[in-house]
Amino acid sequence: MARIHAAQAIHDALHLAMAADPGVVCYGLGIDDPKRIFGTTAGLQEAFGAERVFDMPTAENAMTGIGIGAALGGMRPVMCHQRLDFFLLAMDQLVNNAAKWRYTFGEGHKVPLTLRLILGRGWGQGPTHSQNLQAWFAHVPGLKVVMPASAADAKGLLLSAIFDDDPVVFLEHRWIHAAIGEVPDGDVRVPIGKAATVREGDALTIVAMSYLVAEAHHACRALEQAGVYCELIDLRTIKPLDMATIRASVARTGRLLVLDSGFATGSVAGEIIARIAMDDWSLLRAAPQRLAAPDCPEPTSYGLTRQFYTEAGDIVRAAGKMLGLSQLPLEALPPARTHHDVPGDWFTGPF
C-alpha cells in the first residue's frame, strides 16, 4: 500500500504490466517525450526499450489498426491518446474491426488492445479537447469501457484492461490524475464489470463515474450534515454496466440520481435510468433523475464554462429537490476553488 496519485498509479500499472508480459507494448504521441503523458509513462522506454515503447506519427486511425494487428500477432498493445477527441479519427478501426473480430472470426481473433483516452476539462480546453464520449463506446458490442475515479482503480482497472483479451477503452479523466489515495502494491487488479459502493445510505442512490465521484463525495458529505444519507455508487465500468449493484441500492433507497460527464442526450446516465425504469419499475418511489453535461459544444472562454460541469452544489440541489428538502446544506460543502476551470489552485496551465 502506498499513498500515491492516480497518474503515478497508472505509471505503476504500465511498468508492472510490461515487466510481467513481454507482449505488452505501449505507444502513443508523446509517450517518450519530456512530459511523458502527464508523467504516466515516465521511465517506461528506459526500462523496456524503444521497440516496446514508442512514439508514433500523428495518424490515429492507422495506428489503431496497427494495434489490432499487433494484438492478433500476440502482443498486448496499450495505445494512449492525450485527448479522446483525437481518437474520433479511429472509429472505423475501433468499431468495424477491433470490436467485431472476435465475434466474426472466432477464437483465433482475440484483440487484447487497451486504449487509454484522456478526457480534457477546464483551462480553455474548448470544443475539441473536452469531449466525454463514453456513451458512444458503450453502444458498441464487443468493446469494454472503464472509467476509474480513484488512484487504486486507475491502477487496478488498467491492469485488468491490459490483461483482458478484448479491446478495452480506458477513459482517463485529466482531473483524476491528481487524485491521491491508497493503492495496493503489485499486480492487484480491479475486475471489469463491478461497480463499487463507496458510501452507504438509504435516502437516495447516486451513481457517478470518473471525476464526478469526487464531486459526489463532497455532496454526500454535505447532505450527511443535514442528516440525509445517500448511497454513492462509483460505476468504474461503463460497459458492462453493473446493474445488480445499482438495483440492489435502488431497492433500498427507492430513488435514483445518475451523474454523467457526457452530453445529456443519449448519455450512459439515460441508459441506466431506462434500465431501472424498464426492469425495476416497482423499486422506484420517485422519478429518477440525471445530471449530465449540457447538449452543447463546450466553449473555450473562462466566462462560459462554469455551467458545463456538474459540481457538488448541483448534486446537493438535485438531491434536495428529489428528497423535498426545504433547506440545502450548501454551506457544508468545501469552499469553492478560486477558479472553476482548474482542479486546484496549484494548476497554472496550459493543460
Binding site: N61, A62, T104, G106, G108, G193, P240
Partner: protein, 325 residues
C-alpha cells in the same frame, strides 16, 4: 526461368481459383449464398503469383474481393464455399460470409468489407513479426480504390518508419465499383510513384503474368526477410465480371467499348497455358480433380447445417462480459 514443377503449381492454383469462382458465379443465382460476393475472375495471376512466394507462417490480409487470395494462400476450398453459404462448417462458422474470410491455419488473417481497413491491421501484424524477430512477413492485398483511403497512407508511412516486413500487393484493376481511375485519382499519376513518394520501395509488374509476379515477389519477399523495409507491388489487371455479384455487366457501358475484350485476350490463365504447354493428360486430370473438389465443396456446403440460432450471441467477447443484471 522457373522450374517446371513450380510453373505447373502456379497454373494449378490459377485453375483452382478460376474454376472455383466460375462455380460460385454459376451457383449464385440459386440464392443459397445469401451474401454479397466479389469475384476475381481475370485477376487470378496476381493472387497466385504473390502467394507463391509466401509460406503459411507468412500472414495475409485482404479485402471484399478475397476468395482468390484465400485459396492462393492455401485456404480450404470446402471452408470457403461453406462460408459463402453461411454454414457452420465455413471458415468463420458462417458469421463472416464472402467479405469476411479468415483462416489462421494458413496465415490468412482477415479480409474485410470496409475498403482499406485491413491495411493497418496487416502492418500491425508485421510489427509483431518484427518485434518477435520472426522471419515471417505480412502481405496486404489491396485494390486501386483502397489506395485512396488515408489509412493506406498512414499505415505505409509507419511501415516505412519502422522498416516493417510488409508487402503491399496492389491489384490495379482500374475500377472501384463502376468508377474508373480518372474520376478518383490525378491523371497520369503512377501508383508506384505515389508509393515511392510515401517512402515504400515500389515495383510494377504485369498482373496477368503469374510467373512474372511470382518471380518478382520472391525477390521482394526475400528482401523483406532481410529487413530492407516495406515494399509495394502494383499489378495492373482486370476484373471480368460485375463488381459485386455473379454476372457479366459489360452492357452497362461504364467501361470503354472493347476494354474488357482486350483484357480477356490477355487472360492470365490462357497466357500461362500457352506459355508452359502442360501435358494434355495432366491438364485434363487437373481439371477433373478440381471439378470434383469444387462440386464436392458445394454439395458439402449445401448439406451442412447453419450455425445454431442459439449460438448467435456467443463469443462477442473473448473474456465473457458478466452483465450483472
Amino acid at each position: 526461368m522457373m522450374n517446371r514443377e513450380f510453373s505447373l503449381q502456379l497454373l494449378h492454383d490459377m485453375l483452382l481459383v478460376r474454376r472455383s469462382e466460375e462455380a460460385i458465379a454459376r451457383h449464385y443465382p440459386q440464392q443459397q449464398m445469401r451474401c454479397p460476393v466479389h469475384l476475381s475472375i481475370g485477376q487470378e495471376a496476381a493472387a497466385v503469383g504473390i502467394c507463391a512466394a509466401l509460406t503459411h507462417q507468412d500472414q495475409a490480409v485482404s479485402t471484399h474481393r478475397s476468395h482468390a487470395h484465400y485459396l492462393a494462400k492455401g485456404g480450404d476450398l470446402d471452408a470457403l464455399i461453406a462460408e459463402l453459404h453461411g454454414k457452420a462448417t465455413g471458415c468463420c462458422g458462417g458469421r463472416g460470409g464472402s467479405m469476411h474470410l479468415s483462416d489462421r491455419r494458413v496465415g490468412f488473417l482477415a479480409s474485410t468489407a470496409i475498403v482499406g481497413n485491413s491495411i493497418p491491421v496487416g502492418v500491425g501484424m508485421a510489427l509483431s513479426q518484427q518485434l518477435k524477430r520472426s522471419q515471417a512477413v505480412t502481405c496486404v492485398f489491396l485494390g486501386d480504390g483502397a489506395v485512396e483511403e488515408g489509412v493506406f497512407y498512414e499505415a505505409a508511412n509507419f511501415a516505412a518508419v519502422r522498416r516493417l516486413p510488409v508487402l503491399f500487393a496492389c491489384e490495379n484493376n482500374r475500377y472501384s465499383v463502376y468508377a474508373g481511375l480518372e474520376k478518383r485519382q490525378p491523371a497520369g499519376r503512377k501508383l508506384t510513384a505515389l508509393a515511392e513518394g510515401i517512402g515504400l520501395r515500389a515495383w510494377e509488374v504485369d498482373g496477368n503474368d503469374v510467373e512474372a509476379v511470382a518471380e518478382l515477389t520472391a525477390d521482394v519477399v526475400a528482401s523483406l526477410r532481410d529487413g530492407a523495409g516495406p515494399a509495394f507491388i502494383e499489378m495492373p489487371t482486370y476484373r471480368w465480371l460485375e463488381h459485386c455479384g455473379h454476372a457479366d455487366d459489360d452492357h452497362l457501358g461504364y467501361r470503354p467499348e472493347g476494354e474488357l475484350a482486350a483484357w480477356q485476350a490477355r487472360d492470365p490463365l490462357m497466357a500461362m497455358l500457352a506459355r508452359i504447354q502442360p501435358d494434355a493428360a495432366w491438364l485434363a486430370a487437373t481439371e477433373s480433380v478440381l471439378a470434383q473438389r469444387i462440386d464436392a465443396a458445394f454439395q458439402r456446403a449445401l448439406a451442412a447445417p447453419y450455425p445454431s440460432p442459439a449460438s448467435a450471441f456467443d463469443g462477442i467477447y473473448a473474456s465473457p462480459l458478466q452483465e450483472n443484471d
